[in-house]
Structures are given as C-alpha cells and as structure tokens.
Symmetry: C2
Subunit: 396 residues, 2 copies
C-alpha cells in the first residue's frame, strides 16, 4: 500500500539528534552529539531509594492509578517554590503544568498557538527540536540574528516582529542550545517588553539554568513578564534524569488550561512515579546538593574540552566559551563543511551535530555543536584529537 | 493580554473524562465515570520489586539516560512475541513502537495521516478521547452505525467510506469503549478487507482484550491485514498500571517510521523505567498469572453491576452485557437526559459519563457509560441505587 501521510509529516525526516542517537549508541564511539548528562552524575541511588519509599508507602496505589493531566499535586505545589529561584513569584498551581520532559512543553505551546502558515521567530541558531516541532505545525520559522556573546540582536527581533507578525518567539535563555550563549539581563528585560508590546507569545526554554560553572545567575525573561505572554519551560532531565521525562510549563492560567487540553489529547498525563521522584528531590532538599556535587565535574569537562580544542583544533576553528550548560559551538571560519566531513568523523568514531540542523534557514554548514557533559575526560581529549584530524584532513 | 489560540484549540473544551476525573477524585464520591482498573488489582509489589531490581542492576545508569524514541529494545523484542496472542505474526522490531500509553498511539496515528478537513470514520458511539484527538487535528468525524451486539454495520462502513473517502477508520475491537460490545470474527475480516480495498488506514485500539470474563478470544483485525493498512494499538494501562504510561503501536515499518518522527516531536521517548518494568512482567511471565488473578474480581464486579441495574434501575433503562472490559452502556429508552441529570447525580455523589460525549454527531443524550471495574462491590450497589433514585426522580 502506498501511504498518503499527512502534510505535516510527509516530507519531514527525523530529528537529527534522535537519528544520530541510534548511530552513536555504540561502546566504541566517542559522542559529542547528544545532550546527555554525565552518567556518573545520575543519582541512581536516590532514585532507587525514593521509588522504593513511594512504592512501599501508603499512597502507592494512587501513584499507580491514572493521575490528573495537570500533574501530581505535590509536585505542582513544590514547583511554585522552585521557580522563585528564577524570579517567578506570585503564581499558584493554576499556573503550573507538569509535562513529559521540557520538549513536550514546547510542543504543547506551539499546539496551543500555531496555525499552519503562522510565523515563529527563533534565535538563529536554536534548539533543533524546536525547529522540528515548528515544522510539524507547518509554521514558517524565521531566525533572529544572534551575533553577540550575550545573545540575540534586539533590533533585529523587533524588526522581524513588525515584518512577520509572529505568533510565537522561542528562545533558550541560559547557555543556549546549541551555542552555549546566555542572554544578558538587559536583553531579558527588552525581550519581555517588546514581545508584550506586539502581543507575541514568548516560549522561554530553560533546561540548563542550574548548570552554571562560572558567572552569576540571572532572572528569567518570565520574571519580567507583566502582560502574561511568556511561557516558561524547564525540565529535570539534566538535573535528575532524562528518562524520567519530567518537565514544567509555567504560564498564565488561561494558557495553562489550553496546554492541558492539548496534553489530554496526547499522553493523558506524565508518569506519576517520575513526578513523585522529582517531588522527593525538591521537598527533601536533595536536588541542589546533588547539583552542587555535579557542577565541578561539568566545569572540568568544559574546561578540558576548551583546552583540547585550543591545543588540537585548527586555528580557523572559532568557538564559544559557555558559562554553563552542556554545549560548545564552533565555526570553521575557513568554510570547512561539517556536513561533508560527518561520515568521515563517524568512521573515525567521533560524532557531533552539524550546525545547519540548528538554523531556521539552512545556514551553519561550517558549524558544529559539541557536547562536553557526557564523554569521559579521556574521551574528550581523544575525541577532539580525532575531530582535529578529520578537519585537518590528516585522515582519509 | 487577549490570547489568540490556534484554531485547533480555540473552541475546544477539555476531554469530558479528564474534567470529570478532577470532580470525582474525592473520597465520598462513587465514580462510575473513569476507566480505572480496580485498585486492588494494581501489582504494587511486583512493580516495586522490578523497579528495585532494575535500579540496583548493572544497567541502572543506562535506564536513566535518554532512550531511543522507538522504545526500550528488550521491550520491543518482547512485544513481537506478545502480539502473537492476537494473531499478529511475522513482524520484527521495525514494526513496533512503544508509546506513552495507548492514547499516544491514537494521537500519533492521526498526526501521521490527518490533514485539516480530512475525514475519520468511527464506530458510533466510540472512545471519546479519539474524538477529542480528531478535533485537535481538525478532522471531520463521521460515525458509522453500530446497532448490533457484535459491533458496526459493515454495509454502513462501506457506504460511508465511498461517500466520504476517509483517511482513517478508528475502532475499539474488543469490549468497546463505551459500549462494551465486541466485533465478531466475521466483521473483523470484513473490516480488514474493506478498509484495504479503499486504502483506508484502520486504527485498531485494543486495550481491554485480556480482560475477558466470558466467551472466547478472537484474533485482531490486524491479524487479517494483508495490505499493511492496519495500525494495532494497545496498552498496559489496564493490565499493569495506567500511570506507568506504556502502550504499543504495531504497523508496517513505513508507518512506524512516521509515528516515530511524530513522537520525537513531542515527548522524545517513553519513560524507560516504565518500559523496563513492563518488560519484566512479560519476560518473567508475571503478566498473565497476574491477569488471571484479576479476572474473577472483574467478573464479579460486572455481574454485580448488572444484577444491581436489573434490581434498581427503571424498566426503561436498556443496557449492554459485555463479555469483558470495563464498561456497561445504558440507554434511557424513555428519553431521560443524562446531561440534564448529571449535576443531580454529582450532588448525590455518583458519577457517570454522558453518552453524548461518545458520539461523533452529538447523539446519545439519553445514554450513559458506567464503569464497573473501579468501585468496591458495596459502592457498586450503593451507586446504582443512587443512580436509580436520580433517574426515578426520587431525589430532588
């Protein structure tokens, strides 16, 4: 049978990272491709202990029954307190939706606002899954220039808002995926102000915020939201465990009500055991000590990757110096192609993600995203050497 | 700010069951509304034991990292064997996608095939979440008549396929939600034949199949699928635990590839711990003994509800006699309105779902769906008495 797939999926290929994920899931591959937390930072013992307490507890049965789409009530309550860290105050549980990973927060936000043909503005480059999701909603995605170390060009943002009348602006505010850049305080305020002025919904995606290795924490864009146009999305994937699939969306209660209806129509609710484990991390005050223990390791990995790049990569490789997160972004200023060299890199057992997958407009062929959080120290050095060899043309 | 929501969600209210769920989640309410398994049938101890084994095992870390969108490999392998029970043979892992509950299988199927304005045929009445999801894809949903005890009218199906040229036909093959009816063997074959003939994708939703209390198991529609047009969706929600959110979709590998891309764009992957727990139930041969232990309890509840209906409900209440599943469907042949009496029922602490929520065309106001699996025996009798009083007009 010849399948007549929907327009949204007919010509859409897989999300590049997910496809690479299958490729690199081999023991001898050094992968800088994924966005995986360090395996040694996964709190296996805590998760085991909490699961055991919960499943032996008096509420075990109710944890195993259907739960509310909005989320596990104790976690929703805990989140009200949790987001005070990013300057979000004066909210109640009607502003909180628990989602199945931060990415579902993006999906539901687009589902609630985007019609086919609507415009979405994104930082250029941006998180490739957000681009992938935007394509599923058949949106027109326009990139906003982001030449500076502190993120997007605010004038270009306003210019493109006026030109395209977008429904949504999507941005990763801290340690952006893929560039590792962080929005300055001033730009956060300006984004809140400008998007409110033009009635644009801002989806602020903030999964990396707590993984800061240098510099000072900044308040979220959402903290400057007076109009109710900002949806704040975050996740416990990088802080506790990705496979628990627990994230959050914080927004005006009318938006949360629509996201909830959207969620009813897909996975009904987020896995309750996962939510209850996340709640234990918060209510028992285990999360931040755990993160504090992880930070030195991540910092070391970042520093090691940067020093290895400096030592081995060719001089025409320019890269960012992120203060946190999981990624370094590099550009071959001589125009070397990350796309053309990809297979060669895989043959040599080192993987990255091509820059063009992060651009709304197909640019970035000469760029790569490197993840430093998952590989061992030894493999960071070996992998960068391999990569240097590929791009130096030393290996056929 | 005035929100300009997407057309798909602008006027869509919440899924009735999910909204009622919030209402009835109170200790003094007798709920016949949800589709919850019996709490005493939840295998808390097994789940606890398996979680503990898994999180203490040598693969614990990999269970907590990101997993493949297609699903946890050992579970996908186990599913190949599992679906032989329903007559699905000769498949490999490329025909298997693990989904976050059966409902996600419906959502992804519609996502992969439905454009705005496309037609979907459904049995009338049908599972309300399928109608809800269809609305999100802005489909035109047409009900196929289903007057007989063995399900839909095949002539009407063919007539409406010719008339509407639908992309998808959706049906619950065993112990239908909401009616409890089961398709006869002959109708299964005819559905497979006719939908293939006209290039219609059939989504066969089969979450209740193993909960059979009388009669003989029948092969799935999918087992008669020669053209590759049937997507078989099932779930462990009613067999292990709803809140683990583990379901399956079985289809031609080209369809599975598209569903996978659709899933990449929403929750990335299903919670791995949940999948690994389901895998332990299968590989350790714990699932079927567990189900066998549950069956007598469910049978007893069904029988008790039927005898209570016979004893207490008014003579103009006509109802189905399901051989399995979770639901009895009733019709007030005198035209009494389930909608108008709903608030009175809630005031009297008994809940049901109004029939009209299950019809594609708004019919069914004089019908109700009653769930018999979740309430205690005592509450089944008390609840039916309360219901009878509401509909007999005894309570103001």
């Amino acid at each position: 049978m010849q399948y007549n797939f929907s327009d949204r999926l007919k010509n859409l290929s897989g999300n590049a990272i997910r496809e690479i994920f299958k490729l690199v899931n081999k023991p001898d591959m050094i992968s800088f491709a994924g966005g995986l937390p360090a395996t040694q930072c996964l709190p296996v013992q805590f998760i085991n202990e909490f699961a055991d307490q919960l499943l032996k507890g008096e509420n075990a049965c109710s944890l195993l029954q259907y739960g509310e789409t909005e989320g596990y009530m104790p976690l929703r309550h805990a989140i009200i307190d949790y987001v005070k860290r990013v300057g979000i105050n004066d909210i109640d549980i009607n502003n909180v939706l628990i989602v199945s990973g931060g990415q579902q927060g993006i999906d539901l936000s687009f589902k609630a606002f985007i019609n086919k043909g609507d415009y979405i503005l994104v930082e250029n480059p941006t998180y490739l899954a957000a681009l992938h999701i935007a394509k599923m909603y058949q949106a027109n995605v326009i990139g906003v220039d982001s030449p500076d170390d502190d993120g997007i060009d605010i004038d270009d943002l306003e210019y493109k808002i006026k030109k395209y009348n977008p429904k949504v602006f999507y941005i990763v505010s801290n340690f952006s995926n893929p560039t590792g850049k962080t929005l300055s305080l001033e730009k956060r305020k300006q984004i809140a102000y400008i998007t409110a002025k033009y009635n644009v919904i801002t989806v602020e995606d903030d999964p990396y915020r707590e993984l800061r290795y240098s510099g000072e924490h900044l308040p979220s864009i959402k903290s400057f939201d007076k109009a109710g146009n900002v949806i704040y999305v975050s996740s416990f994937s990088k802080l506790i465990s990705p496979s628990l699939r627990v994230g959050i969306a914080i927004a005006d209660k009318n938006i949360i009500a629509k996201l909830t209806i959207g969620k009813q129509g897909t996975d009904v609710h987020t896995v309750t055991l996962s939510q209850a484990i996340a709640e234990k991390f918060l209510s028992g005050n285990y999360l931040f000590p755990h993160i504090e223990k992880s930070i030195p390791l991540y910092r070391e990995k970042r520093d090691l990757m940067i020093s290895s790049i400096k030592q081995y990569m060719p001089p025409y490789f320019k890269h960012t110096m992120p203060q946190g997160g999981l990624f370094i972004w590099g550009e071959f200023t001589n125009g070397a192609s990350a796309v053309k060299n990809f297979n060669k890199a895989i043959e040599n057992k080192v993987a990255y993600v091509c820059g063009c997958d992060f651009f709304a407009d197909g640019k970035g062929e000469n760029c790569i995203r490197l993840n430093f959080s998952n590989a061992s120290s030894e493999n960071i050095v070996r992998g960068i050497k391999k990569l240097a060899a590929v791009f130096n043309g030393d290996i056929k």
